[in-house]
């Protein structure tokens, strides 16, 4: 099995809720990367029972803001020379663009062509996001 040590330079996204690594893979657009990406499903975890892990080899700079929105339990370690050089603290991003869609049928996003789906952080305490256009709630926890 892979472990952190096997990566000399790259990013380890750990403590992903079991079963959701493929969704993260999609959101982070990892399919567009040239470097090797390891996906570990259902790894044993003391804290979580089961978890998923994603390891990205050879890449240090990736926009990971969306992770804070999707799941704030995720941890991110940046590895260089085989050592953890940074443990990233995930924060809730102010804006989420084209990650989730507005579910309000009265929202302009339901008919306007070529429009970005944008959600703004409305209340950090409750992780509440609102559609930029119609203010419909979106709560990633629910």
């Amino acid at each position: 099995m892979l472990n952190v040590d096997s990566l000399t330079r790259g990013i380890v996204i750990d403590h992903i809720k079991a079963g959701s690594c493929m969704a993260l893979y999609k959101y982070l657009e990892l399919d567009k990367l040239d470097c090797s990406v390891a996906i570990i499903k259902n790894a044993k975890s003391n804290r979580m029972g089961k978890k998923d892990i994603i390891k990205i080899d050879g890449m240090l700079d990736l926009d990971l803001d969306v992770l804070g929105f999707l799941d704030c339990n995720i941890t991110v370690n940046i590895i260089d020379n085989g050592k953890i050089i940074e443990k990233k603290n995930l924060v809730l991003p102010d804006t989420i663009r084209n990650v989730v869609s507005c579910k309000n049928p009265r929202c302009i996003t339901s008919i306007e062509q070529g429009i970005d789906q944008v959600f703004k952080l409305a209340d950090p305490k409750t992780h509440l996001y609102r559609c930029l256009y119609c203010e419909q709630k979106y709560n990633p926890k629910k």
Binding site: N104, R106, C107, I108, S110, E112, I115, L132, C134, E135
Partner: protein
């Protein structure tokens, strides 16, 4: 940065007062402003009909010496051919200096603003926001009561789904000492976030089911409609339906200087007999609305009074 008016709360309390001050000045001496918009054009892009609002905007621009162009329903516009709001506003930006947009979809005016070369005014987007109505409401209250601070304002009707009442509540909550009396059926009370924001700011408010109970306390009564289909059950509808209809009998309970407002159109929630009562101010409200829109057009076009 280009200024638009999309959400009434985009304006600070000071900016709101500046608009109202200018509207007051225009109302005092309209002739002074008769040519300030000479040679300028307002586009009214109405994707759904709202004759009253459109005429108010058009009258406002004409009174300032400008001219108007536009369309008055989605069916006779480019939207019927499937053109996006973004593309329409890009085109209209070449023809007009400012535009007012009304659209059945929530957020459409914001989409327009994001792609516009000219100032955009939200003239109503579905049930979402209607900032010129909110400014009109504030202007009417301030003009007729000579103040907003310290008033007890009753808001009656569907307070759950009527989001224009939410903007009004949030705007009034920025003044000092305003007390709210929220009159609605249990099921149609204001949403939790409004309730919580009033509590958090320690703003005095109470929620009641019947209008007649609270009539004597009110300085302002803002009536809106409760639609039959909004009631959860027939029993409540029958029990409460008359509670939300303002008639002469309920007016007897009110203060002599209370004012009654309504965003119009009225259906049956205010009995016609009330129209003759001097406290019925909902038709005056229309006039204030036009002056507010005149002030708004001037401010968004960056026209100063000194230019008159």
């Amino acid at each position: 940065m280009m200024k638009h008016l999309i959400d009434p709360l985009d304006l600070t309390a000071e900016e709101v007062n500046e608009f109202l001050d200018l509207a007051d000045k225009i109302m005092e001496e309209p002739s002074k402003y008769r040519h300030i918009c000479d040679g300028r054009k307002l586009a009214t892009l109405f994707y759904e009909p709202s004759t009253r609002t459109r005429l108010s905007f058009e009258a406002a621009m004409l009174n300032l010496g400008g001219s108007v162009l536009g369309f008055s329903s989605g069916t006779d516009s480019s939207a019927a051919k499937g053109e996006s709001v973004a593309d329409t506003i890009r085109v209209v930006s070449n023809f007009a200096d400012i535009c007012a947009i009304r659209h059945p979809k929530e957020g459409a005016p914001l989409v327009a603003a994001l792609h516009s070369e000219i100032p955009v005014i939200n003239a109503g987007d579905g049930g979402h926001q209607h900032p010129t109505q909110t400014l009109t409401d504030l202007m009417t209250i301030r003009s007729l009561k000579k103040r907003i601070n310290g008033l007890t304002v009753g808001i009656c009707g569907d307070l759950k789904f009527g989001r224009t009442t939410h903007s009004l509540i949030k705007s009034l909550a920025r003044y000092t000492g305003v007390k709210f009396v929220l009159i609605s059926p249990q099921e149609l009370r204001v949403p939790d976030y409004i309730f919580e924001s009033l509590q958090a700011k320690s703003i005095a408010f109470k929620q009641v089911e019947r209008l007649d109970e609270v009539m004597p306390e009110l300085d302002v009564l803002y009536m809106t409609r409760v639609q039959r289909e909004r009631f959860f059950n027939e029993e409540d509808y029958i029990r409460l339906k008359d509670s939300y209809i303002l008639d002469a009998k309920k007016m007897e309970l009110a203060k002599e200087d209370m004012i009654v407002l309504h965003p119009l159109p009225r259906v049956n929630e205010i009995a016609v007999e009330v129209d003759h009562d001097p406290r019925a101010c909902y038709f005056k409200q229309v006039k204030y609305g036009m002056y507010v829109r005149m002030a708004l057009i001037m401010k968004l076009l960056g026209l100063e009074e000194s230019e008159c």
